[in-house]
Symmetry: C2
Subunit: 472 residues, 2 copies
């Protein structure tokens, strides 16, 4: 296992922590949800209108009760995952409104796309968890689309999944519907089965929707991933240390609220902040600074003993070209090797979160597979050094026909399913296929090979009844 | 600065070292150059025919005299580089016979390509050193092509460069020609101005050509990069620990020879070993195991206190597609973050070393630029956290028009020259250019903008005279 990268010293971590404490105590942070203000005030946090002034002692108390590791339950117990420790849990892209196809054409995402992504997650050897809002289905009413997505998460896939956090009502619906799988929401009160993506609105604000969703998820014992996307030089300071101090203040405020609602409620720390390209004013998620911020953020989360979120296969490229490969690999590699426990946007994202792509999903899955291979130990033992074999082969001979080679080659080497490893002549003869084209075929194969996991008909009925009543 | 990744424990390093000692003492290693055997024997190493049996005490003595850091001089002193310590020196691809163009067509490489690569290195903000055999020019006689390449290295570029190591004679010619820049080879005796890429022939052999070149470079105070490319499961053990032990034995044998020839001769430790794809029997340089071996090899080199070589922008892709981006970034990122001091094949390679590509050169250069940015400190100081600005912006306001943003945005952010950071509509309006296409234009611009660095006419005359006499 890699010792992972270390960008900040202990002194740096303490300095950033102290700066965040000063921000929260002096400037305060706004929560536009009255119940959040009430909860803070009830626990002795100074409040003035929408703004609370959180002191270090409140943060410390919250950090004490927040778990460093917890299990996220799937409806198929074999698919349960553990968040925290040295575990790595991968989850697809989030929040895209569009689809980009193999020919770099763009179109609105629809519910069929969402279902296809559920099927890809279900058939993935690498992706552990299903998303929510992987794409925003344009063919469903905004008011009830989250119901369709939660339904799809439950019936098309049996892995753990994200709940909707677009509003307090969406959170309540997610909890009701997920609860049905376990016989009612009271049975998941002490059993996290979902995770909500909660984002502050930088600088120093939580919308009513986000704070309301956070409260519901915490209250029902479900996981809150407290994160944000701060744009250095736009919604946050231009210097990286300033950004790290400010985003830390925002995340700690949200985490404190979860623990005031329910001490011990599972929570994850982690941002996806990056820089703004000053030539275009555009978010640059393929920038190397994103990787630096990822590394520093994960270190900061570990400093607090919290499970850390990283993100992901990120790129500003508009299609699955070499740029997409370069940027996504840099971000994923850094995030994984920095020690992230949970990665959002692990696969699928194109065009700075604008769109998802099937080809990109499969390419990122390949990157994730390679990174998982690299996390396995080299395992230096006498048996594996195997001096006897080295001595028997000796000088100038070959290992290809050695019996040990046949024994170990399947387990020792990661075999890529889609990366080209043929010679140029063979590659040309087979039509000079670029990775993008191969992945289009691979996508079709995956969807064809998909089989729906069993689900009790009563559960499906309950879910359908709930949706009809709500969407009415 | 990242602490870099750590794949092996101290116990692992010692175990591998001991295994290598046992291999060298018991199996021995062949040198098919009689002078190498003589040198070993003269220093008390047991020799039997072509095989020497090197003991730990010989290795230890060599490691004592090998420098941990040294300067490599360029004909323009502003381009000098330091190898070792925490420095990172980047050098282009090596050994390709072909060129692959933007349309994935292949052709023989010619001398004009070689000169173009010299021009790209000269105009690079990222690549510190010129190569040798960046491509093997098909339009020059094999016997004298190295003379043309060394000439090109000297006159088209004023950065430090690789010498030829294809034979003892090529090494002698390189030393003579490089010497002319400094008034004669005796003036570079204590002043390394060149580096030779020396490879053992696994398992456990050094060809007459390589050993001869090594001896010449060491004797004249020039740098030997002692490396190899072992194919796990073909020319080396299938298990990674076995491969690491065996390749370490081979590298230590070569390093010992350099120090016997001239104690203190500059030397670099580092392999580019990887796995064999057992489905095709083909070298897989885009495999994640390459990155693991890179990390472990660099750790091993640091364990010995030697400057370490890593490699590079490696891929099995046959064209500049997403696969090329993914594999090259994974390998480069790992190698840089693992602590490599010198990176061969930093840019240009396609198709498992088959070919170089101008587009790939520029894409890899971009990856290297991003990695260099990531090596810069975040620099957490009170001034850079800048609580005053954070307090003055406060809650819900913006940083875009803050004076500090304008002051810092140029120095704080890495601005990519070629990566797309425009929105989809703009990108479509501008012709939906993929990275590959943009790099074709960028290449033409770079070549047009190139200006030849000054060189004294006497030096050029001397070089020409030497080549005519030799090639004549």
């Amino acid at each position: 296992m890699f010792a992972r990268m270390v960008l900040l010293s202990d002194k740096d971590l303490n300095k950033l922590h102290n700066a965040s404490m000063e921000i929260l105590a002096d400037v305060g942070i706004a929560f536009y949800e009255p119940e959040a203000i009430e909860i803070f005030a009830d626990h002795g946090v100074k409040a003035d209108g929408n703004v609370v002034y959180i002191e270090e002692r409140h943060i410390e108390k919250a950090l004490e009760s927040a778990p460093s590791e917890f299990k996220l339950h799937a409806r198929n117990p074999e698919q349960n995952v553990t968040i925290g420790g040295d575990n790595l849990v991968l989850c697809p892209g989030y929040g895209a409104s569009f689809m980009i196809d193999a020919h770099c054409e763009i179109r609105n995402a629809i519910m069929d796309d969402y279902v296809n992504f559920c099927k890809l997650v279900q058939t993935s050897q690498t992706i552990d968890m299903n998303g929510c809002l992987m794409v925003d289905p344009n063919d469903r009413p905004a008011k009830s689309a989250h119901l369709d997505m939660i339904y799809a998460n439950i019936v098309w896939c049996d892995k753990p999944f994200l709940g909707s956090s677009i509003s307090r009502q969406a959170a309540k619906d997610s909890i009701e519907m997920a609860g049905m799988v376990w016989g009612g929401k009271k049975y998941i009160q002490e059993k996290p089965v979902m995770m909500a993506i909660i984002s502050s609105l930088s600088p120093l604000q939580y919308s009513a929707e986000m704070a309301g969703a956070l409260i519901e998820y915490a209250r029902h014992g479900q996981t809150n991933m407290i994160g944000l996307l701060m744009m250095a030089g736009a919604t946050g300071p231009v210097t990286l240390p300033g950004l790290l101090a400010l985003q830390n203040a925002e995340m700690l405020a949200g985490i404190t609220l979860t623990q005031l609602v329910k001490p011990g409620a599972p929570v994850i720390y982690g941002s996806t902040s990056t820089v703004t390209d000053m030539r275009t004013g555009k978010l640059a998620i393929g920038a190397p600074e994103l990787s630096m911020i990822q590394n520093a953020t994960i270190q900061m989360g570990k400093f607090y003993g919290l499970p850390c979120r990283g993100s992901g296969g990120l790129t500003d490229a508009q299609c699955t070209d070499m740029q997409a490969g370069i940027e996504s690999t840099l971000a994923l590699n850094t995030t994984v090797m920095s020690g992230a426990n949970f990665i959002l946007h692990a696969c699928g994202i194109l065009g700075s979160y604008l769109a998802m792509s099937y080809q990109k999903f499969l390419a990122d899955e390949e990157i994730c597979g390679m990174l998982r291979r690299m996390l396995k130990s080299i395992d230096v033992t006498d048996e594996r050094i195997d001096l006897d074999s080295i001595k028997s082969v000796g000088i100038g001979k070959e290992y290809l026909t050695h019996p040990k080679t046949l024994t170990h080659c399947r387990s020792e080497f990661y075999l890529s399913g889609t990366m080209s490893r043929v010679d140029f002549a063979t590659w040309r003869k087979k039509g000079k296929m670029q990775l993008n084209e191969k992945l289009t075929k691979a996508f079709q194969k995956r969807i064809e090979a998909y089989t729906q996991p069993d689900i009790a008909p009563e559960i499906a009925d309950d879910l359908n009844r709930y949706i009809r009543a709500k969407a009415g």
